[in-house]
Symmetry: C3
Amino acid sequence: MSKSGPSLLFTHQLSNEVIFSLFEKAKLYKETQFHNIPDSYSGAVPLLLFFEPSTRTKVSFQMAMSRLGLKPIMIDVNEQSSVVKGETYLDTLKNIMAMKPDLLVVRYGEDKEITNYLEAQETPVINGGGGVSEHPTQALLDAFTIYEEYGQFQNRKILLIGDIVHSRVASSNIHLLTSLGAQVGLFSDEDLCKDYSSQKYMFETLAQALAWADVIMPLRPQKERFKQYGYSASSYAEKFCLRQEHLKMLRSDQIVMHPGPWNESVDIEEAVVNSENSRIFQQVENGVYVRAALIDSILSEKHK
Amino acid sequence: MSKSGPSLLFTHQLSNEVIFSLFEKAKLYKETQFHNIPDSYSGAVPLLLFFEPSTRTKVSFQMAMSRLGLKPIMIDVNEQSSVVKGETYLDTLKNIMAMKPDLLVVRYGEDKEITNYLEAQETPVINGGGGVSEHPTQALLDAFTIYEEYGQFQNRKILLIGDIVHSRVASSNIHLLTSLGAQVGLFSDEDLCKDYSSQKYMFETLAQALAWADVIMPLRPQKERFKQYGYSASSYAEKFCLRQEHLKMLRSDQIVMHPGPWNESVDIEEAVVNSENSRIFQQVENGVYVRAALIDSILSEKHK
Amino acid sequence: MSKSGPSLLFTHQLSNEVIFSLFEKAKLYKETQFHNIPDSYSGAVPLLLFFEPSTRTKVSFQMAMSRLGLKPIMIDVNEQSSVVKGETYLDTLKNIMAMKPDLLVVRYGEDKEITNYLEAQETPVINGGGGVSEHPTQALLDAFTIYEEYGQFQNRKILLIGDIVHSRVASSNIHLLTSLGAQVGLFSDEDLCKDYSSQKYMFETLAQALAWADVIMPLRPQKERFKQYGYSASSYAEKFCLRQEHLKMLRSDQIVMHPGPWNESVDIEEAVVNSENSRIFQQVENGVYVRAALIDSILSEKHK
């Protein structure tokens, strides 16, 4: 990556120039289905270290690496691992790094010490979704999906719905899409979007918000936090769920995206996921191309 | 596969012609130990998705793929995965498929929706043992082991013992072996073999059944269901367990098979597993060859 | 391996000649970072079977294999595996071996039956740390790290601290380092080093022990056994923990090693782990080279 070394820990490390060059490569991968990839770093060994549960992101990275001819080593830190022996995550991480992988993809919770440690590494590191604040490859694949749809970001209106404040997807997306020239609007409530109150496009009703937006993106709320904010699953759903009944309000050029995993009938209804407006499975597909582009860019740089 | 697209979801999809061509290839793999395999689809990325516990089947598929030069991606859906976030298995599956693996091996419980979804896929899918009704690759490896032993199925007598009704191995085997010309007999009881009461060869005593059979195959009962059927482990064992004492009743051309994992002294005794009549470890070995033959046949077709 | 077939189950199987030839290869791997490795057995499929939790050892073996161009199959036996269906570890192992991996790395608890079974195999097996008595690759990497530091073992003084009796690292290291000509000293207590009372170098105080040693190696105690031996974490720490305050007693040519994972402030303090005297992360790094050397030596022999 250009702005600060070979790693991608934070969305703000991505310049627009880097982003568009990644998109060019991702587009090529999609068109060619990775046909005839030069095998320039096949001896490289990437390592995936997940301190938090994941299926989609983990498999997406593995698939991207496999498509590039790489053989990732997968480490889930859970009850089968040294943590049961009392080792801290930072110690586990230091040990893993001592084994000199060529690339580390890591998912971890909010932990300043780990972030500081990762920033200091020469080994390239990709943040696989950390804590509440960062999920840069999700932001990239979301932006790529929007770019694929509209060919540009200028004047595009992206609406985020629901629990903004606990969503690493939201914070990464707001930063990235704004930098790329898009307008990001929010339909949320005071508690669930605090820190974003200066955001320009805020809506009073879902109907107003939907009328404004090109891209409609409900977020996954963390159900375990509902109580804390005075919500139940059903009261959250009543306010924020994107339902089948909303589909008839949508123009054909409006698209629905969702970072997944979704909570059926809490943030989105299955009928919407499977509707013609939905780009949700394209997002998942695009994740492989975008991550492969990122990995290729990092390893090509390293093996120059 | 020939009868209905590239997938193998159900045993009935396998024509005898396809079966024997798979056996030819499996035999070759066994003789050559995969030496000098042409590397015609090494860029292909297979994915193994297990919603249910497995060691043997999972490792067998991985070994088969590795022998063919493939690098499978392994996904266990459990507490480390998105399911903890409330995603349904079908949603997980749809997301995985959106990432476009070249082949999916999936084990899942009885779930009509998932089966319907899988049937509609263009991506080849192999059923890795689903629910109570289907385990086609187990049926294939069992049939291959019998074929290896006797060179034919015509007039061969295969005896299944015990809990027929809850065994996906039983239902797949009864179908496949019968199609191939073998006779399948049952030693069970009324509750444990209902739906199979029209089966021609039913035995009153284990001794009569053993005298009849060429191949003796005790099945693994699900201990958690014993109570429901009025059994305890010991009363089940008393009736159905294949014991050391039975070995002396066997001719040298009779063989013992078991789909595994076995319950020591419930469905079979260790002395029988390790006896000269046993082909149980050959079954496990053959599983690798047969699955490799199947995978090769599917991917060769796809990459034609 | 030279003394008894292709496997490495016990430290005593390693002759000094074999050890030094492994070290030569490990040194080469470290210097060249595995550059230009001949790909002489890339079709080989190694299998890692862990019946006990591990991160460091498991990832180290995987990394070593990946660096050699191998694609290991990883099997964790836990709640996702056949053991939930009542299969014994020995049965699981027999099934796995029936699938004919080219190499098996296995970690298992103290189990004579399993050890006997493994000894009888033609397939090469590496003990990945078994029970309380053996962890031969840890002993090798520890010895390599000492050799790297001092260029020889003759007259080198290695001090083990703490819970000797429950440490497979201790028993493997005492054997290996003594064979190589080093002196091994213990600072422990009567209960925690019984069976080693004939050891020549025993110390009354940590200060005396530290003054004597070249290499200082605190061991990881098993906290769950503290009570049984009349210890608490804090009373164990008071007696055995290597603390920041000890650093000022050390000469610059004394090194600190630890097999990991460590218990912060129980057996060692973080400041010591990160001190200039520490070689703890070098140990972890060296583990990859030493294990790769061992695997290469075994597979080269097999594929001759």
